[in-house]
Each structure stands twice: as C-alpha cells, then as structure tokens.
C-alpha cells in the first residue's frame, strides 16, 4: 500500500466520523504530487479539528459515535478491517518506515557450505523428547 492510498483511507475515516456526529468537515484537496507517509501536517490538523469537535460535543452532553463497525466498507468496496498495509511479519525500519515485504534475513557471514554443514550437525541432534 502506498502512502497516498493510506492517506485516502484515513480521509474516509475522518469523513465518516464527522458525518456521523454532525461535524462540518470537508477534506482539503491534496496538492502533493509525490508519495507521502500517509499523513502530513494538513491531515493531522483535520484529525485534530474532528477530535476537538467530538470533545466539545461530549462536554455539552451529546452522545458521540466514533468506533467504526467491523462491516465498515471503504469507497473502493474493501473492508477496512481486512486491509493490511504490509505483511504482519515485516518489522524492519528505515527512517521510521517499515519496509514492505516478508522478513529478509541479513547476508550470511560464513560460506554457504560451512554453515550448511554446521547446521546439519545441529539438526541431527534435535530430539522430539526435548519439547
């Protein structure tokens, strides 16, 4: 998933919560042509505005509805709760961003055959009774 795609999902969440709670909100047009992290100061300001409006309603004693139900469907027909921005096992970081894809091990320090021999010896000593 690109940052732009994530941004679009977050925008839909903001819009939906604002609508459900009678908050006057129009998402601003994004002028950024390149990809982003999925968030930026403009998006953050919009989320902050909605939170402050919700807090005001709570303070005034009005009920608010924030949690989206499991059936919540995005504009493209997909379910928010079924989406994954990358594989759950990927937890590598570069400049605060997870790398997409599966877990990639670092390069080996030993030669392939010496490591294979070492591990063959190790695996032949494994016993099911040790569990």
């Amino acid at each position: 998933m690109t940052g732009k795609e994530k941004c679009e999902i977050l925008k839909q969440i903001r819009y939906e919560i604002a609508k459900r709670n009678g908050i006057n909100y129009t998402p601003s047009d994004c002028n950024n042509k390149s990809d982003c992290l999925g968030y930026c100061p403009i998006c953050e300001k919009e989320a902050e505005y909605i939170i402050s409006e919700l807090n005001q309603r709570i303070k005034d004693g009005h009920p608010v509805k924030i949690e989206l139900e499991k059936e919540f469907i995005l504009k493209d027909g997909s379910s928010l709760y079924m989406m994954n921005d990358h594989l759950s096992t990927s937890r590598q970081y570069v400049n605060d961003r997870p790398l997409k894809g599966e877990i990639i091990a670092p390069p080996r320090k030993k030669s392939f055959f010496s490591e294979l021999r070492e591990h063959f010896n190790f695996m032949t000593n494994i016993d099911d009774k040790d569990y």
Binding site: I13, A47, D85, S88, Y93, R97, I126
Partner: protein, 205 residues
C-alpha cells in the same frame, strides 16, 4: 524520566501487529542475539539511536487518537525487547496512552518483574516463541527459553490466555515444519489458543 533510545516509530499501521490502526514504538536493546535478527540496529550501543522521553512519545501517539478510537487500535510496543523498558512504557501509558488498545510484542525472555509492571495495562501480547525446543532456541538466539515458558505460564495463570498470540516461525536451517507442529502442540498443552505461523525468508530458499 530520562530519554530512552528507539529504533523507530511507525505510525498508522493498518491491522498489523495489533488491532485496527496502530502506532508501533520500537525500542532499542534486546536480550537475544538471533541469527536472522530483523532489526539488528536494536543491538547498537545506546546513544546511536534516537532518544525520546515518555511525554514526547505520548504526544506522537496522541496525533492519531481519532484513528485509534475509530478502529479500536492504539499503541504497539516492540523492538528490540520492549519489556526491558517496562518503567518507561508504564509512564507513557499513565500519561494517557492506556485509554487506547495496547499491544506488547515481546520475546518474554526477561525477568518476571518487568512483565508484572505492565500486566494491568496490556490488552494483547504478541509473543515471539521462535521454537519451543530448548536446543533449537538456544542455537538460534544464544539464550535459553526457560524464562519464556515460565513467563508464558504466569500470564496464563493471570487469565490472559485469550490475550496472547504466539508467533511460531519456520526458521531455515534451525527448525522444520515438524518442530513448528511440536511447538504448537506444546503451547496448546499449557493453554495457548491463538497462533500465527510464518516463514523467515532467507537466502537459504
């Protein structure tokens, strides 16, 4: 509270390492030395990674409160080994982060006292089991897994069985599909019900 080194903060993750939309706080420092470590930067000397105070981290988390509340998401603490920073995490939670869903991604290979400090706050535990066979575990991580199993049993005694997801990886050259099955059986015996199995991708295809 003094600053603590992090290897990264990853905001607005969708249904990854925890419910809904989450922000992952990945701490530096780990008691293990895994052969295929995903984040070797977590083992760097302190001072080489970015340092934050609990308040600074809480302020970053708060920016995404709307999405946490909308999706029942929140903060995920990972690393490295987050339990090594239990006091620091407790402070973030006490500043207000406990009102969101909290997930701990851990090896559980630390003294029980660290786990005790966070027990009242954590909603979900994602436990990186590696392999239940002590020889495989020791060979792969350089440490033994007695503490992992004893901490896991303690969590179950505290009624947290349903809140634990055990990750069992296929680790090329260290375990097999058969040993993954044995690990799962052993974990079921002690009361674990939720599992995630996956494969480490290495150049040993």
């Amino acid at each position: 509270m003094i600053k603590t080194p992090l290897i990264g903060i990853s905001r607005l993750r969708l249904n990854t390492d925890g419910n809904g939309i989450t922000t992952l706080i990945a701490f530096s420092g780990c008691p293990l030395n895994c052969k295929y470590c995903l984040n070797p930067q977590c083992l760097r000397e302190e001072g080489e990674n970015h340092n934050y105070t609990p308040k600074e981290i809480y302020e970053i988390l708060k920016k995404d409160e709307l999405y946490f509340l909308a999706t029942n998401g929140g903060a995920t603490f990972g690393g490295g080994e987050p339990l090594l920073r239990a006091d620091f995490i407790k402070e973030i939670l006490e500043l207000g982060a406990k009102r969101w869903h909290t997930t701990l991604e851990t090896s559980l290979n630390t003294p029980l006292s660290y786990l005790e400090k966070l027990l009242p706050y954590i909603n979900e535990y994602i436990v990186d089991i590696k392999d239940m066979n002590p020889v495989i575990y020791k060979t792969y991580t350089g440490s033994n897994n007695n503490q992992v199993i004893s901490n896991l049993k303690w969590l179950i005694e505290k009624g947290k069985s349903e809140n634990i997801l055990c990750r069992i990886p296929f680790i090329p050259l260290y375990n097999t599909q058969h040993s993954m099955t044995l690990s799962e059986m052993r974990l079921k015996d002690i009361g674990i019900t939720r599992f995630e199995k996956f494969k480490y991708i290495t150049d040993f295809k």
